[in-house]
Structures are given as structure tokens and as C-alpha cells.
């Protein structure tokens, strides 16, 4: 048997050995994590934990809606990190695939009257097709020129979406049909949560397994050295298009889920800013790291809520710092994110996931016999 250690997520024999010697700890932690994830939406909904009423700040000012949007963003960050971090294709056009996926799902749902789950598949197909087209320039151009070609893809998709919006809907935006599975409607936050949680989990497993198998391995090899990959018998052109199609298919689903969840999305929603936010998520979480994608999306979506909660809490306080936070909340959020990115780039260029990996390796290697 080969030791199928994930090359990106958990490198280093130290960690691998640690994990193998105490699988019970891992199992226990997994069960605990699952229990927390299952109980979380009810806590957030009722704002009660084991019968104790929680204040807003004890819940870190996080609501179920934010958590649901985070779950969707997690899948989006995974798909972008697969493309940029794992395949080495930097794209600032990821919002384009969200837009096209939403458009595909809306058309399939409203105009063709297809059921919710089928519209998600259509969104994936639209995304994959657009991904292959968007990936074509990668066969000829590299580096910055390729990034520019993804920028072009973004504006083309934004244009298509606004045309679609005005052709079938109105200024308010594209209104999605109800999300129904059979007769079961995703009518509230809790239902959405239990729909989105398995999807995020499945997406994670899907990407992780893809990277472990032959094609994914080849993808990582291509990112490391394209010439050597070709010399090893890998068809780098086809592989690149496949990576693009796969990533964009998932991004298409993300776009559709986003639109369904928000019920109405307009062309303005798919700004360049949205694409850049996802780039920020994977930088914060860790380029090329799947667990980093999850961390990045969680931090990016939940930290602003935390700062917002802090601002509310501090209202009326006389401290200068408190007043700055209260009066300039959006700027403080930007400041915190800006600083976070700067600090990470200096001290942990491989993001939160990389930093965590190094802390664990450091703990395991401490001379004063800590964990072994």
C-alpha cells in the first residue's frame, strides 16, 4: 500500500506519524465536530445553548444566514483554490462562473420549468462549458496575459447576465424560483443549512480525492513544472482545460446556490470585487490548500459580523478606540482584513492552513518532549 498522504493538506512525516498512532483522537474529534455542526443551526436560530439564553456577542453576532452564505462561499473558495492554488492558473474571473451558473439555473427553473436539483446540474454544465472557453487562452498565453484574459471573461459574463436580467426580469434583478426538492421546500435557514452542509462536505471530499488520483497528481506536477510535466508524458493542454472545466462546473453550482439562497440577484452583484474577495479568501486560507479554502471562506464571511457585533457592543463607550470602531465599522473591517493579509504574507505565505501546519510541526518537534 502506498501512503496516500495528501501533498498539500498534510505534508511532513511528523504529522502523518502522529495521525496514524492515535486514530482514536481523530475519530473522537470528528464526532465532536459533527455534533457541533448538527447542533449549531438550532443554537443560532433559537439563540439558546443547552437551555441558557445567549447574548448576541456570545454568539459572536453570527446569524444562521451568514453561516449558510459561508457554506456556499466555502464551495466557491474550494473551486477557485483548485484552479489557482492547485493548477496554478490565476483567475480573476471567478465571479463570471457564479453569474453564468445563476443564469443557467434561473433559465432552467423559470423558463423551462425544470426542478431545483436539475437546475443545479444545468448550472454545472453551463459553468463547465464557459470554463473550457475561458481556459482556451491558457493554451497560448501565460502569467499576466492570462490573468487579463480571465478579466475579459468576467466582463463578458457580466454583460451576458445583465442582458439576461433585462430580457426576462427587471431592474430589481433575476428572481429565482422556489428551491424545492420533491415537495420539500428549502423555506427556512435550518433547512438550507442541512442542505448546504453536506454539499460543502461533498465538494471538499470531491476535490481532495481528485488531487489524490492520477489526474490531480498530474495537475500538481504541472503547477510545479510544466516542462517536466510534458516530459513525463502529461498532456498539459488538455489537463489545463479539464481543470478549468471542473473548477467552473462547481463554481456554476455555487452561483446557482447563491442566487437561490438570496432569491434575487442582479448584475451588480457579480462585480469584480466579488471575484477578488474569493482570491482574498484563498490567500488568507492558503494557496493550494483545501482546508485553507474552508478557513479562508469562514474568516472572510464571519469576521465582519464579529467586528459589527463588537461595534454594537461598544456603542456609548467613551474610549477613543471604541468610538473609532463604532463610527467607522466598514473601514475597520477593511483595515483588519488588509492587516491580516499583510501579516499572513510576511509570516505565513501559505496562509492560515500553512501557519497551522507549522505550529503543529513545531509542537511535535519541541525538544522538551511535548506531544510525540
Amino acid at each position: 500500500m502506498t501512503v496516500a498522504q495528501h501533498p498539500v493538506i498534510a505534508r511532513g512525516a511528523v504529522l502523518a506519524a502522529g495521525q496514524r498512532s492515535i486514530p482514536w483522537l481523530r475519530i473522537a474529534l470528528s464526532i465532536l465536530a459533527l455534533a457541533v455542526l448538527l447542533y449549531l443551526p438550532f443554537v443560532l436560530q433559537s439563540r439558546v445553548l443547552f437551555g441558557t439564553r445567549l447574548t448576541n456577542m456570545q454568539l459572536l453576532n453570527i446569524g444562521l444566514a451568514q453561516v449558510n452564505l459561508t457554506l456556499i462561499a466555502v464551495v466557491g473558495a474550494l473551486s477557485l483554490n483548485f484552479l489557482t492554488g492547485c493548477a496554478g492558473l490565476v483567475s480573476i474571473g471567478h465571479a463570471a462562473f457564479f453569474a453564468l451558473g445563476a443564469m443557467g439555473a434561473s433559465f432552467a427553473g423559470s423558463q423551462l420549468g425544470l426542478p431545483f436539483l436539475v437546475t443545479l446540474i444545468i448550472a454545472a454544465l453551463v459553468g463547465a462549458l464557459a470554463g473550457v472557453l475561458a481556459g482556451l487562452p491558457s493554451l497560448r498565453v501565460r502569467g499576466l496575459y492570462f490573468v487579463l484574459s480571465t478579466l475579459a471573461v468576467h466582463f463578458i459574463a457580466a454583460y451576458l447576465f445583465s442582458e439576461f436580467q433585462y430580457a426576462f426580469h427587471d431592474v430589481a434583478g433575476v428572481t429565482m424560483p422556489d428551491a424545492q426538492i420533491g415537495g420539500f421546500e428549502l423555506s427556512n435557514g435550518i433547512r438550507w443549512y442541512f442542505f448546504l452542509l453536506p454539499i460543502a462536505f461533498l465538494a471538499y471530499v470531491l476535490f481532495r480525492n481528485t488531487l489524490r488520483f492520477r489526474e490531480g497528481r498530474a495537475l500538481l506536477a504541472m503547477r510545479d513544472n510544466e516542462l517536466a510535466a510534458a516530459a513525463a508524458g502529461i498532456d498539459v493542454r488538455i489537463l489545463r482545460l479539464k481543470a478549468f472545466a471542473f473548477s467552473s462546473a462547481i463554481a456554476g453550482i455555487v452561483g446557482a446556490l447563491q442566487a437561490y439562497y438570496l432569491t434575487t440577484v442582479s448584475a451588480e452583484f457579480y462585480s469584480l470585487n466579488l471575484a477578488i474577495q474569493f482570491i482574498a479568501m484563498i490567500i488568507i486560507g492558503g494557496m493550494g490548500s483545501l482546508s485553507g479554502s474552508v478557513l479562508g471562506a469562514v474568516v472572510w464571511l464571519l469576521l465582519p459580523a464579529l467586528i459589527g457585533g463588537l461595534a454594537t457592543e461598544l456603542k456609548g463607550s467613551d474610549l477613543a478606540l471604541a468610538r473609532i470602531i463604532v463610527e467607522h465599522k466598514p473601514q475597520v473591517v477593511n483595515l483588519v482584513f488588509g492587516s491580516l493579509v499583510a501579516i499572513l504574507l510576511i509570516y505565513a505565505p501559505d496562509g492560515l492552513a500553512g501557519g497551522w501546519r507549522r505550529i503543529k510541526a513545531w509542537l511535535a518537534n519541541r525538544p522538551t518532549g511535548g506531544a510525540s
Binding site: P7, R214, R217, A221, D235
Partner: protein
Amino acid sequence: MSAPLPLIDVRGVSVAYGGKAMALSNIGLTVPERGIVALLGANGAGKTTLIRAVSGLLKHHHGHLTGGEISLSGTRIDGMAANRIVRLGLGQAPEGRLVFKHLTVEENLEVGASVLPRSATKERLDVVYELFPKLLERRTQQAGLMSGGEQQMLALGRALASKPKILLIDELSLGLAPLIVRAIYAQLVKVRDSLGTSMLIVEQNARLALDIADHAYVLERGQIMLSGTAAELKASDRVRELYLGAATPAVAGGRA
């Protein structure tokens, strides 16, 4: 002694980079089954270009064939993409030991073996590990963290993992200690003897190259100046003077 069908047959090949002057002109070269053939020549003579032409990597360096043909076991491969040529049985260890730095040793080898059917991967990796036991030791290590010599072994191991009929090796000795280079070459001769893998090697150290090769070609300014068996070339005055640093400068009549 003419072999029935050479494994590699290069006929009248000329190469140019971009719109610039000829890098190679009218090259003819053959590599027989189970043969080790060395390419000698000074920097810029065109050795690497010839290797690239055979391996199909010329396009990646903006070069192209302006004439001639190349075949591998009778199949025309000039103009074919590098990855397809690999599938026909040509393994390559390109110049500069291009290992996949972020993958482990074993993952590097698995990428190399990915042209084989999945079921054959494990068996092939065992063959490679047997040839380079050091790689087995370092199996789970990240390739980029290994020493230069180990990376070179990995580059060769990865090329061998594709079960090639012929191995192209470009400048294996670059930046490595002479002792390590000798050891790796000794191992390669063993590979040829046990697996029957042919080799076309580019080597700066002519003495070393002529020690392990059966045949050699001397390239100068894009043309083949001399060719013959290793023994013939070792005895040639010109080779001795220019590449072996012979201690007989008195009879040097070649160049003014």
C-alpha cells in the same frame, strides 16, 4: 555492424529557433537497441537542441525543425507533442533536474508512471526503487528538499518509471560532485544491462561519457564533426585535443 532497425533514427535534421540562424544543420544520428550513445561538444554546439528535437520539447523553447525526419522504432515522431512521444517509449530527464518540488518522491515517480496502465504502476515503482534504493529511503520526502544528487536520481527514476525503450539524459552532471556523477552513471549502465534500456546522453565531461557510451557523436556549431565507437573517438587526436585535454599539445595541428 549495422543493426536491423535503429531505435532512434535522426535523418538530415535541421533546427532553427524563432527566425534566427540555424541551431542544427543536417544532423544524422542513430541509437541502436540496447545502445548508449553520447553527444559531445562545447557549449552552444547544439547538443541540448538535438535532445529537444528528439523529445518533442523544441516547441516549448520556440524552436522548430526546418528539415529532416526523426523516427522512434520506425514511427515518425518529429512534430509530435512531447507527451505523445513519451507514450511511444521515450523517457526523458531534461536538463536541470526538473523534479516536481512540492510532490513527494513517490508522487514524482507515480507521475512518471502515469503513462502506464494503473495496474502496472506499483510493479514499475519497485523496479525503480531497486535501481535507486536511495529513493525508497526518501519515499515520503518532498522532492524539493532533497540534495542535488538525490534530485537527479529522482529525475532519472521518474523517466524510468514510464518504462521507456530509450532514455534521453541531458547534462546529468550539472552542479554535482564528480563522485556522485560516477555513481549515477554506473547505475545507468546497470539499467541498460539489466533492463535493456537504450540511452542518448549529453555530457560535458567527455572522458566520463566515452567511458560508458558505446558510440559517440561530436557536435560543433550545429553540425556533426565526428562520430564513431567510443574507442575510436577516444583515440582520435581531435577529440583528445579538444575534449579530453590530452597532454600532447606538440602535435596539435587542428586549429590555429
